[in-house]
């Protein structure tokens, strides 16, 4: 117990150096916790933005369509009848079903033309699944049959368009003939998912179906479900389609978000690297401190050995000191991390410097700010790991100190 007391009292020696190491460890911890919060926040926001503005929780699609979905084909569509939608809605946990028709189009403003994705939606059903309508910043959504469209603000800026302007969508029909959809811009949307804002033109589903000559065909059915129930609902859907002999299959939002999932995996690697650097900083700080302390206290070590202290007892004294530094650095780091993460959760981190705040070019569907999220286990994990690393990294230099020849140590030779 006295060795414990001595080790703790030794913390008050070389205050400036100890404080410096504590701060280095604290800032390394802070960096990790902030990074972890931001990365997890980015992941969660990305997933939410995909679910809430793009895919819903589940997409019901013809498997052949799914294979070619990137090309937005007009084949292998789902031909709607009320029975399909109603039977899906009856499944417990399904909160909304939105039929969507996705098609390639060229948007023409009378002067310029750009490639866009046309999205035929039934407004009421779309509202059950997505929250895009909450982000209409000017004008309004359209009603079925209206020759109106809603486009993103970024696309509007690019094409110099505003509400009430007319646009022409040049499309290819199912029969591979050209057709046009002339619509008035009813509203401008600025959704948290920048992909919505950049290149999508919302038009009434019936208008799109008519222009593309596909009857009541839709590309997919987007489903909103109770979060976390996707797997169970997918199973029910599969059974349902099998019973009705429908060539349809449910796909989780995760399957549509492969690039973000891949980014998430890369994030884990990135955070792991940061963790490694943090631990390395802590280790080097502790090792450096123990070595310097041992050099400064050579005569004291000699005295301890003359008193008959065993090597492990001397090692213990140094380890207590190192552990104390690790604990104080960890506590300070967790406190700084708490402040940093609180700030990130409340105010977020501006990504204004990335392509004007649009991270979609990097495969991250986030606009303006990334908000951090709390990851309390990371605090506990880092704190405990920090102490373990402090203890482990102090063992070797402590043994080096304790192994000193007593005569040489006493006389500092």
């Amino acid at each position: 117990m006295f060795s414990l007391k001595l080790g703790l009292k030794n913390l008050t020696r070389q205050k400036r150096r100890n404080i410096l190491i504590i701060f280095v460890i604290a800032f390394a911890f802070f960096g990790y916790l902030v990074m972890d919060s931001l990365m997890n926040g980015m992941e969660e926001m990305s997933f939410d933005n995909i679910k809430n503005y793009d895919t819903g929780n589940i997409q019901v699609v013809n498997p052949e369509y799914w294979e070619d979905r990137e090309d937005l084909p007009l084949e292998n569509l789902i031909y709607l009848n009320q029975d399909i939608v109603e039977s899906i809605k009856k499944i417990e946990g399904v909160l909304g079903v939105s039929p969507e028709l996705r098609f390639k189009a060229n948007l023409n403003n009378g002067i310029d033309e750009t490639a866009v994705i046309g999205l035929g939606i039934s407004f009421d059903q779309y509202n059950e699944v997505f929250t895009t309508q909450n982000y209409i910043v000017e004008g309004s959504m359209f009603a079925p049959g209206e020759l109106k469209a809603v486009i993103g603000v970024s696309l509007a800026e690019l094409m110099d368009l505003k509400v009430d302007d007319y646009i022409t969508l040049l499309v290819r029909t199912k029969d591979d003939t050209f057709n046009t959809i002339d619509v008035e811009i009813a509203g401008l949307v600025r959704a948290p998912n920048p992909m919505i804002n950049n290149g999508i033109v919302f038009v009434p589903l019936d208008v799109a179906q008519q222009a593309l000559n596909i009857g009541n065909g839709v590309s997919l059915l987007a489903l909103k479900t109770v979060s976390g129930e996707e797997e169970r609902i997918s199973k029910s859907l599969t059974d349902n389609f099998k019973n009705k002999d429908l060539n349809l299959k449910p796909y989780s939002w995760k399957e549509s978000a492969s690039s973000v999932i891949a980014l998430s995996a890369a994030k884990k690697g990135g955070i792991g690297t940061v963790l490694l650097v943090v631990l390395l900083i802590g280790m080097l700080g502790i090792i450096n401190n123990v070595i310097l302390s041992a050099l400064e206290r050579t005569e004291e070590i000699g005295m301890m050995k003359a008193l008959g202290m065993r090597e492990w007892e001397i090692v213990f004294v140094f380890m207590i000191e190192a552990t104390g530094i690790g604990i104080l650095g960890g506590l300070a780091g967790c406190l700084l991390g708490y402040i940093g993460v609180s700030w990130l959760v409340k105010y977020g981190f501006s990504i204004g410097y990335i392509s004007g705040g649009d991270a979609s070019g990097y495969g991250i569907p986030i606009l303006d700010r990334i908000y951090g999220i709390w990851n309390y286990p990371a605090f506990t994990f880092l704190f405990i790991l920090g102490i373990i690393i402090a203890v482990l990294s102090s063992i070797l230099p402590s043994y080096w100190a304790a192994k000193k020849d007593p005569v040489k140590a006493i006389y500092h030779r």
């Binding site: 117990m1 006295f2 007391k5 001595l6 009292k9 030794n10 008050t12 020696r13 005569e299 004291e300 000699g302 005295m303 050995k305 003359a306 008193l307 008959g308 202290m309 065993r310 090597e311 007892e313 007593p406 005569v407 006493i410 006389y411």
Partner: protein, 229 residues
Amino acid sequence: MALLELKKVKKVYRQGKIEVPALRGIDLTVEQGEFTTIFGPSGSGKTTLLNMIGCLDTPTEGEIKLNGNKVSKLSQKQLAMVRRYNIGFIFQAYNLIPVLTAYENVEFAIRLIDHSKELQIKEKVLKILEEVGLKGLENRRPNELSGGEQQRVAVARALVKEPKIVLADEPTANLDSKTAADVVKIMIKMNKELGTTFIFSTHDPAVMKYANRYINLKDGMISTDERRG
């Protein structure tokens, strides 16, 4: 049985390929309760001899017995245990731990061997501090004590575990003559009261005169060994 016996003890240091003999064959017997000074010119082997007696180092040749037990061939771990229970040290530079108070510096030594209750330890430590004249200064740290007071703490630290033998290498070299005499008088007092054997090296004739045995070392050998009073 003698407390300490050295038979033909030799110590040779190697500096690269050169062998430097520090002790050339020491035969010495010390009885319980002796107050012995080892003197001689610099490089005569005083410190080396004290290190051998104190089990801090082992001889190249020869045999050392402490309390009848052969200690010259023990391992470092065993030597540490011999030092822990049998030997007290007083160093020229005091070697106190600066973050501990006078009380704690003394407590540190006894805690290594005595696992009695807090109260009993406290009694012992306060008693020895009073014996060396440090009553009232128990809570001062080394930097709040004079050189003489620090050396008294070191004396108390060496004696608190009631060792068989106390070794002091130039214990008064850093002190003025009056303080040096005070410290030596405390050592004599403890020698008489507790019967502890003291062996110390010194250059100072004013300190030497308090000893009752004088061993003169020259070139690693005992040239004279006298007992007085």
